[in-house]
Structures are given as structure tokens and as C-alpha cells.
């Protein structure tokens, strides 16, 4: 068993176990802690997949931001009847049956489907290091991601995407270079974040419920 397989199964079992623990635990505070481990395991899977910037963003935004937000929400609403609210046994049985059928269906579909199309050669291990970045010696994806978010694609000397595409005879092919990056979605996400921050501050402003004395 290679080191990659060892780390994958370690992270995968941790992530899946913690995700199931989020569901089955009755205490909402413990569910938040299990969610922390799940998000950390997902970040580890991102690092294992060579997406270092996405993994770092996952840790900073999810574990550092979203989870702190959820923990604050738990603390602000943690009155004694709401910390452990249980669903009925019948609901649990029905949900577990539906969930088991759904995960079985998804697993069957994804293991029976051919994922390697003619344009991908995931079987060749040397091409994976090329796939991580445009330069095999530079495996970081930060520069490529930053450029593509600014609407710039890396230009190869022969005017193609610097990703080798191999045909049936394993000869490198080039595909035409696509010049359009992701500047417009990037700006839309920026405006979206501003609007969301204003709306969250408006919705969660300090306001007592009607009938109680204002403070």
C-alpha cells in the first residue's frame, strides 16, 4: 500500500466517520465539534489532491470563519431544551433507510461508471504532477489560480493550454487556448459578499422581541 493510499484511507475514514457522527449525535455542541473534524479532514483531502490553495482556503474560511460563526450561533441559542432535541424513533428509522438506500445507489453508480474519458489519462502517474500546475517543477497552484481569477490564462509558447492532452497513441496533443478566465464571476462574488455582509448586519441587529422592554 503506497503512502498516498495510506493517507487517503486515513483521511477518508476520519472524514466519513466524523460526518456520520455529526448526524447521529444528539448534542448540538458536539455536532459542531464533529463538524470541525470533518472540515479539517476535507482540507486534508484537498492537500492530498494537490490543491494546496483550496485546502488552505478551506481551513481559513471554513474552520476559521464559518465554524466560529456556527459555534457562536450555538452559544447564543443554547438554552437547555434546545441543546439536545431528539427526533422520534420512527423518523430515525425512516431516515436511516432512505440514507442507506441513497448512499448505496450513489456508490453503485460511481463505481460502475467509466470516469476516464479519452481526454484524460489518469492512469499515467507522471502526468499527474504536470496536471498540478503548468510547470512540472512548480507544483503550487496559487499563481495559476490568481491569474485565472484575474481573467488571464497562462500562455504557452505555441498558444495552447499548458496541459498535455494525449491521444490514443499516447502522443502529446495541444488543444486551442481558451482566453477567457473567471474575472466576472470573481467580481460577482465580491459584490455578493458585500451585499451579504450588509444583509447579515441588518438581519441580526440588536432588537428585542416585541412586548419586552427594549435595552
Amino acid at each position: 500500500m503506497s503512502a498516498e493510499a495510506l493517507f487517503f484511507w486515513l483521511l477518508a475514514v476520519t472524514t466519513m466517520g466524523c460526518a456520520i457522527a455529526v448526524v447521529v449525535t444528539q448534542n448540538i455542541v458536539r455536532a459542531a465539534v464533529w463538524l470541525l473534524f470533518t472540515l479539517g479532514g476535507v482540507a486534508g483531502l484537498f492537500f492530498l489532491l494537490g490543491a494546496d490553495f483550496v485546502g488552505a482556503t478551506q481551513i481559513m474560511v471554513y474552520v476559521g470563519g464559518t465554524l466560529v460563526l456556527i459555534v457562536f450561533g450555538v452559544m447564543l441559542t443554547a438554552q437547555s431544551p434546545f441543546v439536545t432535541m431528539r427526533a422520534g424513533a420512527g423518523e430515525w428509522g425512516l431516515t436511516l433507510v432512505v440514507g442507506g438506500v441513497l448512499v448505496g445507489l450513489l456508490a453503485g453508480v460511481l463505481f460502475l461508471s467509466p470516469w476516464t474519458g479519452p481526454q484524460s489519462d489518469s492512469a499515467a502517474p507522471q502526468s499527474r504532477s504536470v496536471a498540478l500546475g503548468s510547470d512540472p517543477a512548480r507544483s503550487q497552484t496559487v499563481r495559476d489560480l490568481g491569474l485565472v481569477l484575474l481573467g488571464i490564462r497562462e500562455v504557452h509558447p505555441n498558444g495552447s493550454i499548458p496541459v498535455p492532452i494525449r491521444d490514443a497513441d499516447n502522443n502529446p496533443q495541444s488543444v486551442p487556448r481558451r482566453e477567457i478566465g473567471y474575472l466576472l464571476p470573481f467580481e460577482l462574488a465580491s459584490v455578493h459578499l458585500v451585499v451579504v455582509l450588509v444583509a447579515a448586519a441588518y438581519l441580526a441587529r440588536a432588537r428585542r422581541r416585541t412586548g419586552s422592554p427594549s435595552s
Binding site: 472524514t15 483550496v54 464559518t66 431516515t95 436511516l96 470516469w115 476516464t116 489518469s122 459578499l193 451579504v196
Partner: protein, 103 residues
């Protein structure tokens, strides 16, 4: 054994089903939010796994994962603001109590 894209998709499928079950079974509104986060993380695992194993998807998968993370953070902020507002008005976070619009 070689780790292929199917193994990562299996992790994503388990996280997706866990999130859906979490959204269905939790009575605490913040528990429902945690289910949404699990579903979005499952989608992110699939994006990044395809970015690794499909050569035409190298940058696109990671860019989509970044956008998903940004949108999930925004969604969590808004949803928590709504939950806190609901708690201020009804003094509960039980989603079964949110029946003001019931006819």
C-alpha cells in the same frame, strides 16, 4: 492499490448523504445548517477530485471549489442571522415551531 477518482467520489457521496440526512433529521435550525455545510463540502470534494484526475478540468475545478467556499460562507452568515432573528422573535430554534406562514 491505486487511489482513483472513484474513491474520492465515494467520500463525497457519503458526506452528501450525511448532510441530507442531517438536514432531514435535525430539529435544531443550526443542525440543519451543519447539514448544508456537509453537502457543500461533498460537492467541493468532487470538484477538486475531478480537477486532479481530469486534465481538462485542472484549474476549473479548483476555481469552482473556491467560489463554492465563498458562497457557503455567505450562506452561513445569512442563515445564522435569520436563525438568531427567529430566536429573538420566538425564543426557540426548533424548526417545527416555524409555522407562522401555515394557512
Amino acid at each position: 492499490m491505486t487511489i482513483a477518482v472513484e474513491h474520492y467520489l465515494l467520500v463525497g457521496a457519503v458526506l452528501f448523504v450525511a448532510g441530507v440526512v442531517c438536514m432531514a433529521i435535525k430539529r435544531n435550525a443550526i443542525g440543519v445548517l451543519m447539514g448544508v455545510e456537509l453537502v457543500l463540502n461533498a460537492a467541493n470534494i468532487n470538484f477538486v477530485a475531478f480537477a486532479r484526475y481530469n486534465l481538462l478540468f485542472v484549474l476549473e475545478g479548483q476555481v469552482m471549489a473556491l467560489f463554492t467556499i465563498v458562497l457557503a460562507a455567505a450562506e452561513a452568515a445569512i442563515a445564522l442571522a435569520i436563525v438568531l432573528n427567529f430566536y429573538n422573535n420566538h425564543l426557540t430554534v426548533d424548526v417545527d415551531a416555524a409555522e407562522d406562514l401555515k394557512g
